[in-house]
């Protein structure tokens, strides 16, 4: 406040041992196109985390991309929290030495793994689910990343994906400094979504497109749209669909091709509507509804491509709302139903409640789940055989319970397919299994019934009370209004 802003100082050459704003530079780790990374320690401090300092490279003092990108990251990173982003520590602006200090993540970015592509399909799915989970967390914090690519993805020791580099990102509630700055589409050529090519910067589904490019590459060893450098080259993805992964490797599971090609749809409305829904499918392959995408072996013929090209010529992308809104509009509902034991009246009331929620949330997906109680210790063969048929029996009952919902949703129509999935979990503890499942699949809302009989509840304890107490998400507990006769 007291100092007049002077001319922006040139970034001077930094050297190990130098101290900037109380941080000592220990080791030069990386020189990127936009920034240098240094391992640093706080002088006289004892930070619990290892730290890294990012210093922008300013080429000749006049480089709007790196300056504005750095401004954007300085604005957005401090607003983010949680395990899927590096923890922000400090920043310095361009009146002195510009920098950002943040948590240093151990290990390499996903970039290294690309040298080994094609990777086994199950590993691709596992990586995809982790990255999608991280993206959903980011979207819920009102941010679209807009530069999802291997070098911007790191992993914690437990496998949690961490997104880095928010220089091209957009926050729903902060000014978009990049919006007016450049006349060229912003992003990384191979990964940019069609709407990003058309200057749309507020659709979280753009990140799913980029994730699709990344998964395609890991799966096939090839880039779906090459690495174009011209705007004309970038626009090609508006009308030319990629060669299906099956064309590169015949062992690609159809469900995984289905998911990857769905990510790469030109229209965001045809992709998954939230990153959580994509993560859900990547973790539940058996539930993926296969369409014509799953078995495609060639790209579209010339006539169809030409037709798309004409369409793309005059196409104006629709303006989207914002990141968190899109994620909230596409929730995952979990109906936890004790089909084998619950009172029929209660089962009906749970179904009615679910139906009302699906009506108010047209973008919602529904996972129907029941828990098959098994012994805490491993089962012997006899029980296993019996267990197998019990499992199938429960699945049949669960689907029967959900039938009216499916009819209501017209889930047999292809565009509705995949909106409802069925799961029988085998676990000794029903509440624990439901809570775990909800957390792993980023469920937004659990609906379940409460045991109506006081005596039984006292004796067995209340599953719903435990789910309410332990869940991270909203839980609706449905109680039957019909009292059982004494």
């Amino acid at each position: 406040m007291d100092t007049e802003p002077g001319p922006a100082p040139r970034a001077t050459r930094l050297a190990a041992g130098q101290v900037i704003d109380g941080f000592r530079l220990d080791e030069h780790l990386h020189q990127g196109g936009m920034a240098n990374l240094w391992a640093v320690t706080r002088v006289g401090g004892d930070d619990p985390l290892p730290l890294i300092m990012k210093v922008p490279r300013i080429k000749g003092g006049e480089d709007p991309t790196s300056i504005v990108g750095f401004e954007v990251e300085q604005m957005i990173l401090p607003s983010l929290s949680g395990p899927h982003v590096p923890k922000f520590v400090a920043k310095g602006d361009f009146t002195g030495q510009p920098f950002i200090v943040m948590e240093r993540l151990a290990g390499d970015s996903l970039r290294k793994r690309f040298d080994d592509a094609p990777l086994p399909a199950d590993e691709v799915a596992r990586l995809g689910a982790r990255i999608a989970t991280a993206l959903h967390d980011l979207h819920r914090q009102h941010v679209v990343h807009l530069d999802v690519k291997p070098s911007n993805i790191m992993f914690r020791a437990d496998g949690t994906a961490v997104l880095v580099d928010f220089g091209l990102s957009r926050h729903d509630f902060l000014p978009d400094l990049l919006d007016e700055e450049f006349e060229l589409p912003m992003g990384t050529g191979p990964y940019m979504s069609p709407e990003q090519v058309q200057f749309i910067r507020n659709d979280p589904r753009s990140d799913l497109f980029a994730l699709g490019v990344l998964l395609y590459h890991l799966l096939s060893g090839e880039r779906p749209f090459g690495a174009p450098t011209s705007v004309r080259g970038l626009r090609q993805r508006l009308y030319q669909d990629p060669l299906p992964p099956l064309a590169w490797r015949p062992d690609c599971p159809p469900w995984l091709q289905e998911l990857v090609l769905r990510c790469l749809e030109v229209q965001p409305d045809l992709r998954h509507q939230s990153a959580a829904q994509l993560a859900f499918d990547l973790q539940n392959p058996a539930q993926v509804v296969l369409t014509e995408r799953a078995t495609r072996r060639t790209r579209s013929g010339r006539v169809q491509t030409l037709r798309r090209w004409f369409k793309a010529l005059g196409a104006e992308p629709a303006e989207r709302g914002n990141a968190a809104h899109q994620a909230a509009r596409s929730p995952i509902l979990l109906a936890a139903v004790d089909v084998a034991n619950a009172d029929p009246g209660l089962l009906e009331e749970v179904r009615d409640t679910v139906q009302r929620l699906l009506h108010t949330e047209p973008g919602a997906r529904l996972a129907c789940l029941t828990v098959m109680k098994v012994n805490r210790i491993g089962m012997d063969e006899l029980v296993d055989k019996d267990g197998g048929s019990r499992h199938v029996g429960l699945l049949v009952q669960l689907k029967h319970w959900a039938r009216p919902l499916l009819q209501e949703l017209e889930a047999t129509r292809p565009e509705q397919a995949g909106r409802v999935t069925f799961h029988v979990l085998e676990a000794p503890d029903a509440a624990g299994a439901i809570v775990d499942y909800a957390r792993k699949n980023q469920v937004d809302h659990v609906v379940m019934g409460a045991r109506s009989s006081g005596g039984l509840r006292r004796y067995l304890g209340s599953v719903s009370a435990e789910v309410v107490a332990q869940s991270d998400c909203t839980v609706t507990v449905v109680r039957s209004l019909l009292r059982p006769s004494p």
């Binding site: 406040m1 007291d2 100092t3 007049e4 802003p5 922006a8 709007p64 300056i67 504005v68 401004e71 300085q74 604005m75 401090p78 602006d93 361009f94 009146t95 729903d172 509630f173 902060l174 000014p175 978009d176 400094l177 919006d179 007016e180 700055e181």
Partner: protein, 247 residues
């Protein structure tokens, strides 16, 4: 230092009390008033006395067009509604209160902040900053990195980069916006006493000079009581209704 930026109070006691209470609770250490203390509302005397108290405690205040008009009295060139309001307001204020309004500066420069009611290029012309073009004109007219102004009743934020690219942003209440040091910013907190963006809650902004974070606020207040007082004072019905609709 935590600044509270309050503008276009418009003699609305209920709104001003709510805003000042909110700002104190948020830890505001210095108050900056961006003009238009009177006009439209039913309590010009109370608002001017409150302003005097804050000035005595070190607040900054600049003059608005309504303040200049109240001092001057009704002019034949004004439209009927305005002439009526100005004449009524002038009659409500004593000589001392009018003198205080008359003494207010048109703009105040404090470090890299400029405080002015309408714009930086012609403070007495009372031209509105409603577009990017107006904002650029104002930001080009000053070397202050931050311009805070009122006059426009809707909360808005403009920014100008070193390469001459301008952007605008409609702020979201309660979300701190870090104002990066490498560009110019023009901040319009929105009207405390007569909001016009469809939301009747009072507007103001706070700015932390250490962290560089700007936060826009919306403070609900008893706008029905304020509106009833306008009606009871015999002022035009349209002005009373405006407080209810927030338009």
């Amino acid at each position: 230092m935590k600044l509270a930026l309050v503008t276009d109070l418009h003699a609305n006691r209920e709104a001003v009390e709510a805003v000042l209470g909110h700002a104190h609770a948020q830890g505001a250490q210095r108050f900056v008033f961006l003009g238009d203390y009177v006009g439209y509302g039913a309590d010009p005397g109370w608002v001017v006395d409150t302003l005097r108290r804050y000035l005595d405690e070190g607040a900054i205040a600049v003059k608005g067009n309504h303040d200049a008009a109240a001092v001057q009295g009704a002019q034949p060139t004004m439209v009927a509604d305005a002439r009526e309001v100005v004449a009524w307001t002038h009659g409500q204020l004593d000589a001392e209160q009018l003198a205080l309004l008359d003494r207010l500066p048109l703009s105040v420069r404090d470090g890299d902040c400029l405080y002015v009611h309408a714009n930086a290029y012609a403070p007495t012309g009372w031209g509105y900053v409603t577009s990017r073009l107006d904002a650029v004109r104002s930001m080009h007219a000053t070397d202050a990195r931050l311009t805070f102004c009122g006059h426009v009743h809707e909360p808005l934020l403009f920014h100008l980069s070193g390469t001459g690219k301008v952007g605008d942003f409609t702020p979201v209440p309660g979300v701190p916006i870090p104002l990066s040091a490498q560009r110019q910013w023009l901040v319009i907190p929105g009207s405390a006493g007569q909001p016009r963006d469809g939301n009747p809650a009072a507007c103001y902004a706070s700015f932390d000079t250490v962290s560089g974070e700007l936060t826009y606020h919306r403070v609900p207040y008893d706008h029905e009581a304020a509106s009833a007082k306008v009606r009871a004072a015999g002022l035009p019905e349209r002005i009373a209704q405006r407080l209810i609709d927030g338009h």
